[in-house]
Symmetry: D2
Subunit: 258 residues, 4 copies
Amino acid sequence: MADRRILTGEKIVVEIGNLKIGTNHPPVYIAGPCSVESKEQIMETALTLKEIGVDILRGGVFKPRTSPYAFQGLGVEGLEYLKEAGEAAGLPIVTELMDEGHMDIVAEYADIIQIGSRNMFNYSLLKTIGSLNKPILLKRGMCATIEEWIMAAEYIAVHGNKNIILCERGIRGYDNYTRNTLDLAAVPIMKKETGLPIIVDPSHGTGIRELVEPMSKAALACGADGLMIEVHPNPPCALSDGHQSLTFEEYRQLRRNK
Amino acid sequence: MADRRILTGEKIVVEIGNLKIGTNHPPVYIAGPCSVESKEQIMETALTLKEIGVDILRGGVFKPRTSPYAFQGLGVEGLEYLKEAGEAAGLPIVTELMDEGHMDIVAEYADIIQIGSRNMFNYSLLKTIGSLNKPILLKRGMCATIEEWIMAAEYIAVHGNKNIILCERGIRGYDNYTRNTLDLAAVPIMKKETGLPIIVDPSHGTGIRELVEPMSKAALACGADGLMIEVHPNPPCALSDGHQSLTFEEYRQLRRNK
Amino acid sequence: MADRRILTGEKIVVEIGNLKIGTNHPPVYIAGPCSVESKEQIMETALTLKEIGVDILRGGVFKPRTSPYAFQGLGVEGLEYLKEAGEAAGLPIVTELMDEGHMDIVAEYADIIQIGSRNMFNYSLLKTIGSLNKPILLKRGMCATIEEWIMAAEYIAVHGNKNIILCERGIRGYDNYTRNTLDLAAVPIMKKETGLPIIVDPSHGTGIRELVEPMSKAALACGADGLMIEVHPNPPCALSDGHQSLTFEEYRQLRRNK
Amino acid sequence: MADRRILTGEKIVVEIGNLKIGTNHPPVYIAGPCSVESKEQIMETALTLKEIGVDILRGGVFKPRTSPYAFQGLGVEGLEYLKEAGEAAGLPIVTELMDEGHMDIVAEYADIIQIGSRNMFNYSLLKTIGSLNKPILLKRGMCATIEEWIMAAEYIAVHGNKNIILCERGIRGYDNYTRNTLDLAAVPIMKKETGLPIIVDPSHGTGIRELVEPMSKAALACGADGLMIEVHPNPPCALSDGHQSLTFEEYRQLRRNK
């Protein structure tokens, strides 16, 4: 392990308005669709999730898709829908930033900026957001080691921004039964090594709807500071990741069983 | 997935004396040293663990070590020590079988026969124990897929023995921060696919003492039917796996926090 | 790396009759079907391969199949067919041994005993064949590290048998485009570390017929002492591994292009 | 596999001046240090490599290092040194681009723009360089599947630029004996699937100096259109990757043995 570090393990609590994320605070619930698809879809989702009990609304507008021919997100238009929906429901919003060109507008609209798995090794982007005064949700790279993930957080921190929430979202494994291998041991490890709050995304972490609830329970049991879960009004019609999204009812059930 | 199956998902409960392992039964606690090292060591361990609250005593006597020059276990002598200790403490015992030549004596002494990770693909051994009337603890191969693990269980079941307890013990990953990658999603998956009870071994699954407790909690939270944990009277002096073994006090603590 | 070793890197040449396998000897060509399926199939194969130019005939009679419901090989009957075919063509034969119960008969019939990928960690079997005076073909375990593979060879060597031919046959990877990831760097590494001859199996190593020839060339270019290739009279009708088997014509072509 | 594709398998030859890279053209030799460290270092390297016989000079000036505290490259200053050295030796140059902010200057100076392993999933960057009229060297992501790598090339091609040279540089594996697992089967696969030229980087692909020559031979044997190799005037003093860099003499030897 590299020995120079800003993130030494001392506990860091990230605040979004009145919401506090980190050790000794209740788990934070982030939910919403993989992609913002229309004004109506995200508005309905925001209002329903607020009623069920969610702390932060998620929704992708710039989508890093494997194929250039797949739906790439609604872009700035989607960002506006997301913002409106969050305001109507009284929920802060988190969305992914893919390049510096959109940094100003994303920073203006979003309460938390997500760095996705595919960009965890994009050091230019990490350096740039390190100078922002804005909470960052840093997903683990799809094959990042613990050391590489810590160092990605250091790239942000060393440029001034320690408001980082880590997110374990599964790593690449040899078995395609699940979409990824959810590495829950990373939760206690990263908390101890960095002191940062860490949440878990069981939707991407498994890719299978039925596994979202048991893995959510496991994540909280080993110390996760929150959960990010994909919820969609009508998963079979989702433009991306429908097979791993919960319906509103399934999400309501998951919250009840906690 | 192959379509022919004995293990169809219908729930199976494995009984060892009065102990019932499986869905809707309380989690089973298996503990003990990696290796039986002496009569005194295993006797002290058995009595102490019984007092702390353990259901089954584990201890290796035939050890599948990577190097032929490493301690290979006490063999039949160790089996006798283990049996004596189990009887003194009133605990059933589980130990690993590595080859057919020892099958009769292991079947005579042990209450549960363990098939270790390195032998999950040893189909000859699986067929042979399939004809025994004895519970089998089937560990997941270190890089076995879900499909391969199910099929290993089928190899046992098709020869007549459905008394199988699965054990997730971590799979091989790209990061050597931990010894293995504990794949907890396998717990709900294997329960649904096979109906068999499944326990988790967080000691091998992480290789790090401090991670045993959080991963134990996570395992039970996602539905594991029990835990197998390495405990040693004096971990720094253990002949194998000392770095991942709990002391008696650490194990007592873990049981209290459950 | 463990420091005690019989296999120190000093060059070892394995002899089968007049055939010499190892550094500074011409590459050895091993070919034949995945499974011996009938007397006619293996006899036709042996005679044709002899005419094309093969040094050793391979054929499986005890098959370690993932599913207990898949074809398990012809057993001793197949061994007799293989022996007859080898004798008719004047070719030594190699076949896999899966358990100690068949050791005597396999040692009697076969010129080389293969330990398959699934049994590289079967230390009981390794110890037993270590006492034989018979060349061993030791395939790499499907997720064995270099260290573990060396130590498996040491298990054999320490019991007296240094007539070991290593075989790289692909390791488990995250991409299912190919069946395995052929790790050719293992060729110069294992030669240097152990001094043993090493051959490559591009059939299992890729699982794709079209890749067998380019990967054969690559294997020899980086120092492999031979090639083991699956050839079948009629691949689409093979009882196992038909998609990766060459026809006689394809194999003849491969030998010409070398 | 996604069915829409610009890169259909039809052969594409990339031209840099008089140099032609691709099927039916002699292999291209790219060499140079991991990092440009000083004007003298890169000038000496360029002139020596020209004399030994190199087609293209490589040198990193923007370095994607795991740790933010490691040497990050000389930046634009290094680019000037690299350009001067290339001109003095009469060699075209290739260097890595990490963010869009440097695109204009890199495009102005470099003859080929490299997209490194960590940015293969940086779709914003891929889209941007897709509009350049400049050859691109697209390294495989450290855990990219064949499908993901093809799609990364499509991201570039769909924006108008088909002058893409692929580069296999090893993928992440479970064994840390080597730095990466060099996946040479990707060479014939990617050539067939995309029609693009593909070169191999055995320096990163193994991380071990002694393996560079055997793996270079293997790469060419299975059809690689060229080799990219790290060469440094004084490897033990290199600011990055010294353990895998060849000396001038070692590189001269490698070229002679081809």
